[in-house]
Structures are given as structure tokens and as C-alpha cells.
Symmetry: D2
Subunit: 344 residues, 4 copies
């Protein structure tokens, strides 16, 4: 038996308040398909939270659905997406974007983040009809490497996108952890002016399932329900999504859950630093990438679940530790104790 899994932030079910709400609101008869009272109210609450009364809000089940529906809705058949090569759509969605007919133009990025010069170059080198035409920039906040864009960085990217006639889309699977990071200087309301569309991830922040698409740009609003239905993402009993997002944005539960995950990561980070370990990427969110001796990793693997991320040298590898809304502080303490024991 292992002691705890730090493998990801979706090992557990939902925060109990959401299960309770599902139970309490179970019997009313609703029209469903995203038009039940719960979804309508959750959408209105999200418009309030993000500070954009004109935003369109839709709920879908998975991040891959959110990405493929939104991106394919922005593009003509020959248009493409620009994204960093470590981006979720580039690697871990089994070619979902390409399956809708569109190329993703990979760029290198720095620490998992796309840069302004990369966007400019990608736009510049695709200049005529023998090539795809980039039309949207995809980025994640936080990124796959746990890093976050600063307000300044996002502002610069937003501006270059406007100049180059590119939409800007933010994958917020871990938006909660990014916004509540000690290193963050962005408020959720700022996204209204910074990006054309984004999604607020529920699954990785305490929901059973559910992601909330928020559309700011008017040109992207029409007909999204057609796209959601066509891709099999329109739930008849959509209450399951509406009710959970009502809970998440009542009394700031969403931010509390994310803050807890960050705090657990921070505790882990400090502990590892105190033990003399370094990190492959300097992440201020709920994903950590410590570099450990292989012997230590082996020892830990007998007690904990986590991914070995990358070989660093013959003696060391980076591992990925993910904390969540549900991670008990005792599990972090225990992990730090155990690694000390192994080391010794």
C-alpha cells in the first residue's frame, strides 16, 4: 500500500459541498442542456466574478472539450493555432485539435510560456496561401510546468495579438492555482480585457467534472451551442455542471480550494529546499519539479505515487509533485519526513 498520491490534482472526488448541493437540488424538473436554472445562475455569477456582464458562459465536461470546441469555432479550415510545444493541446490531447482539421504551430517557449517574439515570428513566416494562417494564440495559466504569466507578460502578448489580428485564448485548467499563487499579480477581472476567451477549470480545483468557458470577444459568441452539441458536450442534465459552479463561486470556495493547493505546494517546496534540493523549473503554483537523486526517487516510489518527469543526469531526475484542494497537510509533512529518512 502506498501512503499518498501526488500524481495529479484529480485523484480525489469533489469537495463535499458540491456533492451536498447535487443531492439537495436533485429533484427539481429542469429543461437542461445548459438552460436549467442552475447553469443560468452559475453563468450569471461567473459574469459577476470576472467583471464582464457581456461575457458568454458555457459549461462543458473536460478541458479537451473546452479547447477543441473553442479553438475550432474560431478558425476557418486553413487557419491554425500557435502554442508552446509543451502545451496541453500539443501533447496530451491525442491530436484533438488536428482532428477538427487544424494545424497547431508549435513554438519553443520559455519555462512553458509563449513569448512575444515567438508569436511575431510565427505570424511573420506564415505569409501566403501555401501555408496555414495562424489566427489564434493558445496559452495556459498556469502552464504545464507550473509557471505563470505576469500581468505585464500577458498584457504584452495581448497587445501583439491585437496588432497581428490574432485571437488570444487561455486554457485555465489550473487557473485557480495561478490566480491565488503568491507570485501572481493578476486578478480574474483583468482577463476580460486581456484574452478573447478562456475557461475556468473545475475538475482540477475541486469539482467532480466541469469547465466554464468564458467568451469575451463578440465575434466568438454566436453559435457556440451548436459547436458544443455537435462535439457531444451538451449535457441533457446539465445541472451537474451548473450546481457545482454555483458552489465554487459562492463564498469564494473556488479561490479557497486553489489557495490550499498552493499552500501545500509551498510547504513542500520550502521543505525540499531546506533539505538542499533544487528544482528544474521554478514553479509558484501547485506543481513542483524537484530534482532528486535516483536512489531517493526509488525509495519514495515505494510509498508515494508521482511521475518521474525527466532525466537530469546519470544520478538525478526531476519528478513532478502535484498538490490539490484535497491534499492533507499531514501528507506533505510525512513526505518530507520520509525523504529525510531515505536521504539519511
Amino acid at each position: 500500500m502506498y501512503k499518498y498520491s501526488f500524481q495529479n490534482d484529480y485523484c480525489e472526488g469533489a469537495h463535499p459541498s458540491m456533492i451536498d448541493a447535487l443531492s439537495k437540488k436533485n429533484t427539481s424538473q429542469e429543461v437542461g442542456y445548459g438552460e436549467d436554472h442552475f447553469c443560468l445562475e452559475a453563468a450569471e455569477k461567473i459574469r459577476f466574478i470576472v467583471g464582464n456582464p457581456q461575457a458568454d458562459v458555457h459549461f462543458v465536461c473536460t478541458g479537451t472539450q473546452a479547447n477543441l470546441i473553442m479553438l475550432s469555432s474560431c478558425l476557418k479550415p486553413f487557419e491554425s493555432v500557435i502554442a508552446v510545444e509543451s502545451g496541453h493541446i500539443c501533447v496530451h490531447e491525442t491530436g484533438a485539435i488536428e482532428a477538427t482539421g487544424h494545424k497547431v504551430n508549435h513554438v519553443k517557449g520559455i519555462d512553458g510560456k509563449i513569448t512575444v517574439p515567438e508569436i511575431e515570428e510565427a505570424a511573420a513566416i506564415h505569409y501566403f496561401e501555401h501555408m496555414v494562417r495562424p489566427r489564434i494564440v493558445y496559452l495556459s495559466q498556469s502552464t504545464e510546468l507550473g509557471t505563470i504569466y505576469s500581468a505585464k507578460e500577458l498584457q504584452d502578448i495581448s497587445e501583439v495579438c491585437k496588432q497581428l489580428n490574432l485571437y488570444l485564448y487561455l486554457d485555465g485548467a489550473r487557473l485557480g492555482s495561478a490566480l491565488t499563487s503568491a507570485a501572481s499579480d493578476i486578478q480574474i477581472e483583468q482577463l476580460t480585457n486581456l484574452v478573447d476567451a478562456f475557461y475556468i477549470g473545475g475538475t482540477k480545483n475541486g469539482a467532480l467534472l466541469g469547465e466554464a468557458l468564458v467568451i469575451n470577444h463578440d465575434a466568438l459568441k454566436p453559435d457556440l451551442r451548436y459547436a458544443i452539441k455537435q462535439r457531444g458536450a451538451l449535457l441533457s442534465k446539465s445541472r451537474i455542471l451548473g450546481i457545482q459552479f454555483q458552489e465554487l463561486f459562492k463564498d469564494n470556495l473556488y479561490f479557497e480550494l486553489a489557495r490550499h493547493a498552493n499552500q501545500m505546494a509551498e510547504k513542500m517546496r520550502t521543505g525540499l529546499i531546506n533539505l538542499g534540493y533544487g528544482f528544474q523549473t521554478d514553479s509558484p503554483t501547485n506543481q513542483l519539479f524537484p530534482v532528486l537523486p535516483n536512489a531517493v526517487i526509488e525509495g519514495l516510489h515505494e510509498m508515494y505515487h508521482f511521475y518521474v518527469w525527466e532525466k537530469v543526469d546519470d544520478q538525478h531526475s526531476a519528478i513532478r509533485l502535484v498538490t490539490s484542494w484535497a491534499t492533507p497537510e499531514t501528507s506533505v509533512d510525512e513526505f518530507l519526513w520520509d525523504i529525510k529518512s531515505i536521504k539519511a
Copy 2:
């Protein structure tokens, strides 16, 4: 305020036992993506229920997902599906199958059911490379019109499919209602030999969401998880599907819920007949299509939600009444009382 909605069988949430189970099994750490203990056990239970130890079982969220994933996985780019024109994939999935690149060859059908001669003709007229090549037959049990295939009908279709090298796929969004209909002479185990793949609908039979794909034909088994992931249908917290299907097939809840819906429909049907009304289609399941005077329909619409299905003549229309696992007997009684009052 209206008294009750007979508009569909997904107005309410889930049967309480499922919410309870979600609550009880909420905290264990699981790998997810359909490989948690709940999904594995639910899949094993379904293999037992359908009597096929070799079946592959996968869980997805919606019927449209089940259909588009399964059908597109069976087909080469130029191959097509044969279906009756009233079929769900032909009308009510926003071209989801075509969005995966495949034509659906529509045939007329009788009472919502595809016939052997129609399959033979569709196969015969598509004979060379200037045309699509039909490769799979799609049917629903029960159909969109509430009718069901008899064992003999399904056997004949199954045989002609084998002769013509066509796969046979059954959309079981309302399979529970079909199997527990008084008119049914099919047991679920028989599907193992009759069809190559099918899905057991959860959403329309008491689950919050969830459909269980069952694959019998070996050729269709490999790589389905790739297809599920690519279409955005692989849940990280798949426990929500596994737990519900565990409940549905523990102590035959699935069949009980369906039987209740049928009984409520039967009571409604008898009541309407006693009042002298006829039906557009003779349906033995949980969807009824009574033909009523327009004035009566108008009166009912002030108290109940339901679809007006089709104009019959200048004075009459057919309406659709759907009962569900959650329909209270009192609501049926009340409806029958009210219609009598209006009539009078």
C-alpha cells in the same frame, strides 16, 4: 406554474442511490481516466450482466459522444453509416457524425425501425468508388418513436449485416425501457450475438450522466481509448461514471427504474385509450404519441410541459409524453384527470 413536465426523461437529477454512492466513495485516491476501481468494477459487472466476458466496456458522458466515437472508429474515411431518417444521429446531433467526416445514408424505416430490405438496398446501390461504402448499420432500441425491435427483427437484421459485411451498432439511450417493456422478447444477453457494439444509456434511466459502451466484435476493440480521449470524452475523475453504473447494476436498479417509467407510460396509455384517444405510433415504452384535439392540447399546455410532435389534421395534433424513473404515479393520475376536465 406548471404541474409536471412530461417533456423528456431527463428533467430530474439522478436516482438518490447514485448521489449517495458518489458521496460515500468521494475521497479515495484513484488513477481516473476510466481506470479507477469504480469503473473497472462497473465494467466487470456489465460484462456479467450482458453475459460476455470478452466484451470491452467504456464509459462516456453523452449519447452523442458514444455514437460519434464508436461510429467513427469503425469507418475508413470514405465509409458510411446506414440509419433511419428519424434516427438520433440523422437529426438531433447537429451533424456530429458528418463532423467526423462520414456520410449517413438515410433510409425511410417503418415506425422508426430500419428494415432488412432497406439495408440490402442501401448496400446494393453503393457499389463502386464513386460512392461512399456503407459499413455499419445504426439503430436505436427503443427508437425515437418509442417502438422496439422484436428478437426476430433484430436477428434478421443481424444476419443480413453479417452477409453484407456490415457492422451492427445499437444506440441504447433508452435500452432500459426497451428491455423491460411488456412487449419485449429480448434479454440483454442476446445483444452479445446480435450486435457488434451498443451502449447502455444511463442519463435517460436515472443517472446524472453516463453511457456505457459495450463492444462485442474483436475488430472494434483496439484503441478505443485513443478515440475517447481525442474527442474530449475521457474524464480524469471517471469515478462519476463508474460509481453510477455500479449502482445501476447492483440489485437490478437499472431495470427497476426502466420498469417504473414503462409502468407510468402504460397507465397513461390505458387512461388515454379509456378516454377515447388514439395514438400516432403504437409505442410499448416510455414515450407515447397520443393524437389530441388542438383545443385539448392548448388546455393541457397551461398545466404540463410536453412537445407537440406533429400536426395530424386541422383539428388534431400528436403530442409526445415521456415518463421517467422519477415520474410520480400521482402526476399521471392528475394528468388524466385534467384532460378529462378539459374534454368535458
Copy 3:
């Protein structure tokens, strides 16, 4: 050995003037990709011929290319095409439109022609996001059954399309034969106001290959070169298309060739009527569908190539006879002589 093939209008190569022009204009160095001098001049000539200085003109190799490029360029992912079920895109293009992701809504039609009420109904019944949204009407002039739309018919269809916010696209694979038919009351210039886009078929009217897409509606003009390239239809040595269309529209060769095909068909038709035979469809263009006794068909098949189109009764079938720009009058005479001999 057979005497002659009436199987289709593309059995022979090109009218010699086109081969000659290819030979004469073979050596100049050109940029190609549709931007060589020949293509530019041919496009300008076509703008003059159709009377629309603002039209965009592009050349592609096949009718299927023209159709799939143009239709997929007009549609969002969930939008569909309305077409008669005998239409080329519905049957004889191996699902090319669906392969670009779009449903084709089939309607019955009358004599191969779509009707205003059918368009109205198709638009009306697709009214919300659970269904595809029809966005363009596809029709052929002449149709697959050799019939043609009158100016009045096309005018009415054009108007209903505008009312219903539908584009109108005309497949002109056999436009020459339609325009030069004795029964035609339409001039090519009228298409500018009647349809949003159409193509002028070269292959079936004397060219080796080549179809000229003409786009009238401003919304459909941008970016078509991207679509043409992406579908593999942008020829590097596009001169082969430009040179042929230069020839076709120099000195009215295009209309002369079509007129010849029609005259041969007319002669054939008169001859068959004089012999007492009737027709399945009354076609005023270069496709005829006479109904003959099966014994006569058998006898003819020893000497001529043609399709047996459809069984009429146990003793009779309809055959299809197609004449072309290249059909010698003597072959028609001989056919009529031979059928008389068989009959006797």
C-alpha cells in the same frame, strides 16, 4: 469491337484547338499557381462573359474539387448544404462534402430539380442547435437527369435563398449544354444576380480537364486560394487550365461545343420518338433517358456503350445516352439505323 460510346461526355480528349494552344504556349516561363498570364487573362475573359467585373475566378481540375472547396468555404462546422437526393454531391462524390465535415440535407426534388417549398421546409425544420443549420443550397444546371431550371424557377429559388439567409451555389459541370439548350431562357450573365457562386464546367464540354469557379458574393471571395491549396487543387503549372479556358471563351468555342452536343442529342431524340419510343425524363440537353424493350437494349449493347439507368417494368428499362462536343453525326445516324434493325 463496339461502334461508339454514348456512355458519357468525357470519353474523348480535348477539342484540338486546346491541344494546339497548349503546344504553342508551352515554353514561356510563368509563375504558375493560378497567377500565370494565361489564367489571369482567362479569368478576365470569364468576368467579361458573365458580365461581372467584380467576380472572383479560380480554376481547378475537377467538379468534385470545385464543389468541396466552394461548399466547405461557405460553412461553419455545424452548417449544412441542401441538395436534391439525385445531386452529384449526394451520390457520386464518395462523400466528399461530408469528408470536409458537413452534412448534406437531401430533399426529393422534381425531375432532378430542387423546389422552393423543399428549400423552405428544410430551412424551417432545422431550427435550433440540436440540428445542423442549413446555410447553402446546391443545385446543378443541367441536372443529373438532363433537365434545366427556367429563369423563373431559378429566380424564385434565388429569392427564397436570400429571404432565408442561404447562399445559392450552382454546379455547372454541364452548364454549356444547359445554356445552349433550345429550352433555355437563361443567359450566362443572369447568373451574376441569381447565384452566389457557380462553376463553368470545362471537362464535360471539350477541355482535357478544368472547371472555372466564379464567385459573385463578396463574403465568399476572401481566402479561397488557401482552400484551393489545402485541398491539393492549386496547380503549379496552372497554365494547363488558363490556356484551355482562354480557348473556350475565344470566339465562343465553349457555346459552339455545347450546342453541337445538344444538336446531336436532339437528333437522337427526334429519331427515337419517330421510332415510337418514349422517355423517362423529358431532357432538353445532352443526356437522354429513352425507355426501351430489354431485348432492344441487349442488341444495342453489342454495338454501343451506354448505361442502363433504371428498370421500368419487366420488359422495359430506361437507358442513358450522352452526346458530347465530339459526337459525330454519323454515329447518331448509325445508332438510329441499328436500333431500327434490331426492332425489326
Copy 4:
């Protein structure tokens, strides 16, 4: 007026023998669609030339068509292609492969050539259903940079593909130039054992248009005509392709034309070396990439057409010079003379 265009190898029309043959074989009546006598005989001749009596041979109009038809026919929806990032399908086909639903996994390559370790890594890192599954390797001979694979290199790639269950496909747009290069140690017959499918480029080697797909692997043979038709690439008057390939492989014209292009390039290369210029890539085929002072490039651009390929430093750029079957020796001489004059 400019003196000559070295911009590409498709500025001119066809070798006159092909125009002559089109003229001579113009009037026979043929069934077309790739089944006319000319195509059948050309296919048989190609089977003889490549030394594989079991090969399937199909003719299409463009390289993009050949690539998208062949690659999409090898792949399940979630499978991908591995290719070097400079590959034609990666850059210059407007996302044609992605438009059929498939991701292209880019690798760096060396001098435009894919390497065995890159293939091994691409296969290794895509190991489960959250990622696409690479299923085919795409390479070009010669490459976009004019380089060629040696027999040993191709043999090694072929072996690693077999080990890793990857198909191997060769884009032969410039196969003639590669095979007849002085640096080549591969005979065309060797391709039978080395690759699963390839195409022999006609357009860039003296044909008006036309590429011959050759399929060696039995698994890839069935149903290709369906794919060709569906993508709009099945010509009704396919004689235009068959006749040209008959000419190309009669009396070795194909190799002669390619050899001429190479000789012109070789002369150019020697001349430039004698003038003291170096090259960005060492190409033994008909594409050269000399590095020249910007002032020289400017001077040349007043007299000749060619692409400026890439900035090398502030004073120098690489240009691309392409010779063809039609390049006159005098144009090369003149170019060398003019560059000497500018330099002086």
C-alpha cells in the same frame, strides 16, 4: 524584362513529346477515371521500371493530393505522421494533412533529412492514449533543401520503421533529380523494398501535371480509388496523366530530363565555386543554395527571378537557384557571366 527565372522547376510547360502524345492520342474513346488504356499501360510500365509486378499504381494531379490521399489512407483518426519540420507537408501544403484530421509530429532533421534517432524518439515519447500514435514516417527524396538520402541512410530508416511498426512513405516530387544525381547510390528498383509507398513526381520533371503513386505494402492497397475520388483527384479524362507517364517512361525520358536539370545545376555550382562563393547546404541535385553578398543579390534580381532563401549575416544571404529539364545551358552561362560582372 528579366532574362531567366531560376525560381523553380515548374516555370515552363511540358516536354514537347508529351504535348505531341496528348495530341496524337486525343480522339480515342476511353472509360477514363484511371482505367483508360493509357493509364493502364503507364501503370504497367511503372511496375516494370520499379521492378515490382505487385505494386499498385495510381495517378493524381498534384503532390499535395498524393500526400494527403496516401497519408490519410494509412491512418486511424488518432494516428500521426512523423516528418522533418522543413518537409513539404509541414510547411507548404496549407495544413492539408491536418485538414484530414491528423497531426504531423515535427522533428528537426539534419540538412532536411530525418534521422533514425529522431524516429526512435518520436515513437518512444508517444506511448499512450493521451497522445497521438505515430504510424507513418514521411520523407522526401530529394529533400526541400536539395539533399538526398544515401542507400545506407534509407535502409536504416526503413529498418527502424519496420521494427517500430511504422509505415514509410517517400515524397518523390523531385525523385528524378535525386535518382540521377551524381551523388546517388540508389536505383529506383530499391524503393520496392525500402518504402511502403512513394510517388514519382511528374510536374517538376517535365510533365504538365501528374504524380504517380506507387504502393508496395499490401495493407495500403485496398480502396485507394475511393480515397482518390473522395478528395476530388480522380480525373474523368485521366488520359492526360496516363499519356504523359507513358512518354516519361518510354526511352527513359524521365531520367534524361532529370539528368539535364542536374547537369545545369552542377555547371552552376562549379561556376559559383570558381567565383569563390560557398553554399548554405551542400546539394547534389537541381536546387542550389549559394550564399552571396546582398549587393550581388540585388544586382542579380534585376535580371533573374529566384527566391532569397534566408539571411546569413548582415552582409550576406542564401538564395535558391533551381534548374529544370528546360533550363538552357546558355542561361546558366549568362547568369555566371552576369554575376562576375556585378562582382567586379
